[in-house]
């Protein structure tokens, strides 16, 4: 198929793969990028929020032509029980800045744009090509890939595994283990289309302003999970995700959770009358720092979701993916510039650089959160949301009960549900994991 030997082969055209391919190609390396989808983005699923700073470091003038939906001026966080939500809301006109910080995007469109930039930078991008195997030398160094296209293997000095959370290549080759069911969430999402003026009216937005709602509580039926609603220009991305281990234990159906979320009295009016045009599902790496696998070896590096680089606490994924892809690309460029071979010892530079970045520092900060949330999901996603709702309702309903009795009743409900010691212990453990 392709006779040429490349400086680098990038497997996958998602956020991390595009960032790596762009970085390397724009510095003159010969790059081949392989994507199994019909077009870049056709296999990629995300919420999706895109963080400008991380993309700006790769393509500074991206705002000129990238397909961006809305820049976010408002964030709501809702704790839900079956009939109510207790919310925190932050909205600031400061986010209406010349270079906004966060945007909603639609991945299929965004990835096509990013891929066009990769091709313009000089990389060869081949779609509809599934990489089936890594090719190794007698000493075990990765020297290329085999694909499902006719023809022999394709060779390169280094292979960048940007194959996503469900990457088969790396696990099959024994470079990393399969993600554990308790360190990946299964999320399902629907795209709800509405006229832009209806979206603006319902969320109090003007022009390209956007709003995000993230919600936790009884909607995940005591599983560790999170639901979301993101406003795009003429559509709303709406979904819910929970840990795969919790799904396997409860045998809840993800599409039932999604429909219940859509029918929640706090959500239903926001999407009323919309036309659903797509239903998607995707795994999200949730294991954090402790789930990061080996990131480099002889002739290969792993980036993005394939390397479990996702900050579940802050719901940041694509920016860690883009940054890890960029850093891997920069490390490879530097090794190449020194005329050194792409072996484990030299590619360790990638990890050294990544450790110094926000990517690993942020994941390290929350290294104990995934285990805490996973082992206490019933308290965090069922008991506390119900208690919060009862407390708020008790406080707001005026019925002649003296306030002192209301306060006592609320305190008693918390103690009854979790015990004094349980409450203190939950607070302490949460504080320690957050620190």
């Amino acid at each position: 198929m392709i006779e040429q030997e490349f400086d680098a082969i990038v497997v996958g055209a998602g956020m991390s793969g595009n960032a790596a391919a762009y970085t390397m190609a724009s510095q003159g390396l010969t790059v081949l990028q392989l994507e199994r989808g019909e077009y870049p983005g056709s296999k990629n699923v995300q919420g999706a929020i895109m963080y400008a700073d991380m993309l700006e470091q790769i393509i500074p003038d991206f705002r000129d032509d990238a397909p961006l939906e809305r820049h976010l001026v408002e964030q709501r966080f809702w704790v839900m029980d079956d009939t109510s939500h207790t919310g925190m809301q932050y909205r600031s006109d400061d986010f209406n800045e010349a270079k906004p910080n966060r945007y909603t995007i639609i991945r299929a469109q965004f990835d096509k744009w990013f891929s066009r930039k990769v091709r313009q930078a000089g990389a060869t991008v081949l779609c509809e090509t599934t990489v089936t195997e890594l090719v190794r030398s007698a000493s075990g160094k990765v020297i290329g890939v085999r694909t499902d296209r006719a023809g022999g293997p394709i060779y390169a000095d280094v292979v960048v595994l940007a194959e996503g959370v469900n990457g088969l290549l790396g696990t099959r080759a024994g470079l990393r283990k399969m993600p554990k069911p308790e360190s990946v969430a299964l999320a399902v999402k629907e795209m709800h289309f509405l006229p832009d003026e209806v979206i603006e009216q319902r969320f109090g937005l003007q022009g390209d302003e956007g709003c995000v709602i993230e919600a936790a509580g009884t909607i995940s039926r005591s599983m560790a999970g999170l639901a979301f609603l993101y406003t795009n220009k003429e559509s709303i991305s709406l979904g819910i995700g929970c840990l795969v281990s919790d799904f396997a234990q409860t045998m809840e159906s993800p599409y039932v959770l999604l429909d219940n979320f859509k029918n929640h009295p706090s959500i239903r009016p926001l999407i009323a009358g919309s036309e659903v045009k797509e239903y998607s599902a995707h795994l999200i790496p949730e294991g954090g720092y402790k789930a990061i696998p080996q990131l480099f070896g002889d002739g290969w590096v792993a980036v993005g979701d394939a390397a479990q680089l996702n900050n579940a606490i802050h719901r940041e994924g694509s920016n860690l993916a883009m940054t890890s892809g960029r850093i891997a690309g920069e490390a490879i460029i530097e090794i190449k510039g020194r005329n050194q071979p792409m072996i484990r010892r030299n590619l360790a530079l990638y990890k050294t650089m990544l450790d110094k970045s926000f990517v690993v520092k942020d994941l390290m900060k929350y290294k104990d959160m995934p285990a805490l949330i996973h082992t206490n999901s019933r308290n965090f996603f069922m008991t506390y949301p119900q208690l919060m709702s009862q407390a708020a309702q008790n406080f707001m309903r005026v019925d002649g009960t003296p306030k002192i009795e209301k306060e006592k009743a609320t305190t008693a409900a918390f103690i009854k549900a979790r015990s004094r010691w349980g409450l203190i212990s939950d607070v302490v453990r949460l504080a320690l994991a957050w620190r």
């Binding site: 199994r36 990629n44 991945r107 509809e128 659903v276």
Partner: protein, 99 residues
């Protein structure tokens, strides 16, 4: 503004999606078994595309045509050999318009 959202069955949700099915080449297979394990049985409920169903002998079968390639079944059931998982050939499978 209070129009109820119609409750869709998952088959109707999948109907919104675009797929290019590779006839005769299913990318997921369930290994023959007498009784399904708890994880394999769970797939009949938790697969988001409802690709797994029980047959009348109580065994789990799969039809991967509506698969969204999320990998949930792989994470739960590949390691112990209950299913064989591959990606569809290049260009085939689900094709997200929005993603």
């Amino acid at each position: 503004m209070t129009m109820a959202v119609t409750k869709l069955r998952v088959e109707e949700k999948l109907y919104q999606n675009r797929y290019l099915v590779d006839p005769g080449r299913p990318h997921i297979k369930v290994r023959p078994h007498e009784r399904p394990s708890a994880n394999l049985l769970a797939l009949t409920h938790i697969c988001p595309a409802k690709c797994y169903e029980l047959n009348d002998k109580g065994q789990v079968e799969t039809t991967s045509d509506g698969c969204m390639e999320c990998g949930t079944c792989r994470v739960l059931c590949e390691a112990n050999g209950e299913i064989v998982w591959n990606y569809p050939r290049g260009g085939f499978g689900v094709l997200f318009k929005f993603g």
